[in-house]
Amino acid sequence: MIMDGLLYSEDHEWIKVNGKSGRLGITHYAQEALGSVVFIELPEEGSRVAAGEPLGVVESVKAASDYYAPVSGKITAVNGELLDSPGLINEDPYGKGWIAEIELEDPAELDKLLSPEKYGELLEKEGK
């Protein structure tokens, strides 16, 4: 499932941009590939992250997987509800399973992300 109105990274993260900030999470495909998420390590509020660098770790059925920042910027909010209910990532990856909000450092980086159509093509190409 791919949502319209979002941009996607090749590492299977999404971002919904609103002006100079954005809300991000992992995609439906990513949560399906991981299986039931049992823990999540969130980025620190106020920390600065660079595009493509690890933002935190999610643990599913015995796999601890990095997830990555789709763009560079400052983390302005994290979804603390996930600490108690990490399963929200599986149930609603584009909604209640959001992970963090970020203040964009360089809006030009958004051009490197994939549209919903391009992300669909990527999944298809990779046989996913």
């Binding site: 399906e32 590939a33 991981l34 299986g35 039931s36 049992v38 823990f39 390590e41 690890p54 770790v57 643990e59 599913s60 059925v61 015995k62 796999a63 601890a64 997987s65 990095d66």
Partner: protein, 272 residues
């Protein structure tokens, strides 16, 4: 496809985890081939899953008394006591045919290597296809998770995965001898009755190779059988090799900067 077969022999827990991560980091940069590694543990070590809380899980005083190191794994899952066992790790890029796909898909594929390898030792194992509810206790081997190896209804091999830097690492432990006594002495429980109950449950549900085979098998024989099993299951050529200079230096740095302090005892235990 050519893979490296690496046997690093015995190491302490910090070195063992650092070497796995160093191989992964160098592999992510294209500096080494995909690798199947075997290793052993001296002294024994308790490894915790990435998200386990050491203060809640580990009795550090007991660890010190029994000479057991404590280290955090880069992978998920729960606590494992590593002593007399054969441990393997598989490190490859996410797009490598051996590990590609979802977490369960790659688990299943790699499990076939273990099944074929154990078959060469005359051990019949099956692959647990139903993960069931999430495990609750602190010890890893007390219940078989999805696609883990079960012999006679008891869990024989425990596996865990991490996905970092565009690569997959899966490592797994095959206990040669059962040592539930030490494992349950170094874990924390709410009461002695709870400790005894969990130990009993663990002993019922987990097995060592010695128990399954009725005799002890030298680690070298197990390693050879598992290597052959992985080669057949994954369709890979294994070429024996050593660690590169870059891997050794990265591992040394990771021991110092990460793993030595990955599961620090509370100040009351160290006397600091």
């Amino acid at each position: 496809m050519k893979w490296r077969l690496l046997n690093t022999g015995y190491g302490n827990g910090f070195e063992n985890m650092a070497i796995d991560e160093a191989i992964l980091m160098v592999h992510a940069r294209g500096g080494n081939p995909p690798t199947l590694r075997f290793y052993g543990w001296k002294p024994p070590a308790l490894s915790l899953g990435y998200f386990q809380n050491p203060e809640e899980t580990v009795d550090f005083k007991a660890c010190r008394r029994l000479g057991v190191d404590v280290v955090r794994r880069p992978t998920g899952g729960r606590a494992v006591l590593h002593d007399k066992e054969v441990t393997y790790s598989i490190i490859a890029r996410e797009d490598n045919p051996a590990v590609r796909g979802t977490v369960p898909e790659s688990y299943l594929r790699l499990s076939r290597g273990l099944i074929l390898g154990l078959g060469r030792l005359g051990v019949e194992v099956s692959c647990n296809g139903d993960g069931g509810p999430a495990p609750k206790g602190p010890a890893c081997f007390d219940s078989p998770a999805l696609y883990e190896l079960v012999a006679g209804g008891r869990k024989l091999a425990g596996n865990a995965q991490a996905r970092k830097h565009g690569c997959v690492i899966q490592h797994g432990a095959l206990p040669l001898v059962n040592d539930a006594g030490t494992l349950f002495a170094v874990l924390k429980f709410s009461s002695e009755a709870e400790r005894e109950e969990q130990r009993r449950r663990f002993t019922e549900r987990s097995a060592s190779l010695e128990e399954v085979m009725g005799r002890r098998v030298p680690p070298g024989r197990v390693i050879q059988a598992l290597a052959e099993g992985f080669a057949e299951a994954l369709g890979i050529d294994l070429e024996p090799g050593g660690m590169t200079e870059e891997e050794l230096l990265t591992a040394e740095r990771l021991v110092r900067e990460k793993y030595l302090n990955s599961c620090k005892p509370p100040a009351a235990v160290t006397g600091v």
